[in-house]
Amino acid sequence: MKPAAFTYHRARDVDGATRLLAELGDEAKLIAGGQSLVAMMNFRLARPRHLIDIGGIDGLDHLRTDAGGALRVGALATHHAVHTAPPDRLGPGHAVIRDAMRWIGHLPIRTRGTVGGSLAHADATAEWCLLATLLDAELTARGPGGRRRIAARDFFHGYYTTALEPHEMLTEITFPRPAPHAALTEFAERQGDFATVSAAVSLDLADDGALRGGRVALGGVDALPVRVPEAEEALGSGAPPGPETFARCAEAAAAAIDPPDDANGSAHYRRTLTRTLVTRACEEAMAR
């Protein structure tokens, strides 16, 4: 058998899961869809002594847009459920989230992998981490001590590390405001692979089409997904939304980052990808 031996626990509810986490300590891992964890266990890169299966907990796979326009996603909602959500639950204001799902692995990964699992795993190139950073998501965690909300900007600490305490689990992710003019795009060597670089842009367009500002977030260029204020300045200068502004924005993004230099791509290559992908994301956001 590929994975190291472990004790299997099945949690019936969130309290049961967090209680088990508190009892078992550092040797325990939560498993939801398992699409990152089981691969790591099969390689024995991860050898948890205890696995707490939260996949059967009811009521954590919801997906709805509330009256104020916020999108609430249960931690156990799968990527595929988000991808195929009916429009009354996930409307045009959050289309960027639906459309980003196609970049996550492949269909058989998306049918199992969960939103909360992806965020808690915190891969620097993960689409959910980039979306959370771009759209100021709020992450709700529950622990033995109760519930707390964590802003996305405080949630990611670095490679695979987050603000979650060892005894906490994510229960819900909230995207507080609609972002109708937003897009996420990326480049990977093969369809479905981890992105070498990913870029997401949200434009703030007035009713008359004037550009009032925007946000730019990048994945794969640092240990965690990052906003790029230098690139956002180019979108907030009162310039008309169009090729020149988008090129300035992309240029500023490429200049601002200090990307890693590794087997997946040199720093120069990642900078070049950033320039291309930010331009593309601006154009796609504008076209919505």
Binding site: H9, G34, V38, M41, H80, R98, H106
Partner: protein
């Protein structure tokens, strides 16, 4: 209901519903669904390639959705319906999808074929009106090292078109996105 615990190295009793039959197996918690199917149940049509979610040879349907059976533990499949490649045919005649694969030469060595078949079976059930472009994107999930993708795409597309001709209304898409 209380939480349940199963200890390592201890045999754990797991109920699995596979191809319409209910089974009970005694196995360790670390048994993947793929290994449980092959070693405990002897249902060996599901192939195991990379065992870390890259190749898709082990694709089965879990409650009708295609999943990698190497990326889940058998215990996680309790309470779900599992379908493997053995469920496609009645044992006498190949299914329409299998016949399309044969007709289009969509297999050479055949190792990856069970995974592609179950991927296509699950995908077409959800998106009977899939375009060829969508089929191309979906089959990127699985690896074929004889590199026969073109014929695989054609086989799936042909099967989908034939199913639409037979039952155009019954197969109306569940949603439009």
């Amino acid at each position: 209901m209380s939480d349940t615990t199963h200890h390592p190295h201890h045999q754990q009793l797991i109920g699995l519903h596979v191809n319409g039959e209910q089974y009970e197996i005694l196995t360790e918690p670390r048994r993947t669904l793929a290994d449980a199917l092959r070693h405990d149940l002897g249902i060996t049509g599901t192939h195991v390639g990379c065992e870390h979610g890259i190749c898709g040879a082990c694709t089965v349907l879990l409650d009708d959705a295609p999943v990698r059976s190497c990326l889940m533990f058998a215990a996680q499949a309790e309470g779900a319906r599992v379908r493997t490649v053995e469920s496609l045919s009645d044992g006498r005649e190949l299914s329409d999808l299998q016949q399309a694969f044969s007709a289009h030469h969509a297999l050479q060595c055949g190792f990856c074929t069970p995974g592609f078949l179950m991927l296509a079976e699950g995908f077409l059930a959800e998106r009977p009106d899939a375009t060829k472009e969508e089929i191309r994107e979906v089959v990127a999930a699985n690896l074929c090292r004889c590199t026969g993708y073109q014929t695989i795409v054609e086989a799936i597309d042909d099967c989908a078109a034939a199913r639409r001709r037979v039952a155009p209304t019954a197969l109306a898409p569940a949603q439009d996105d």
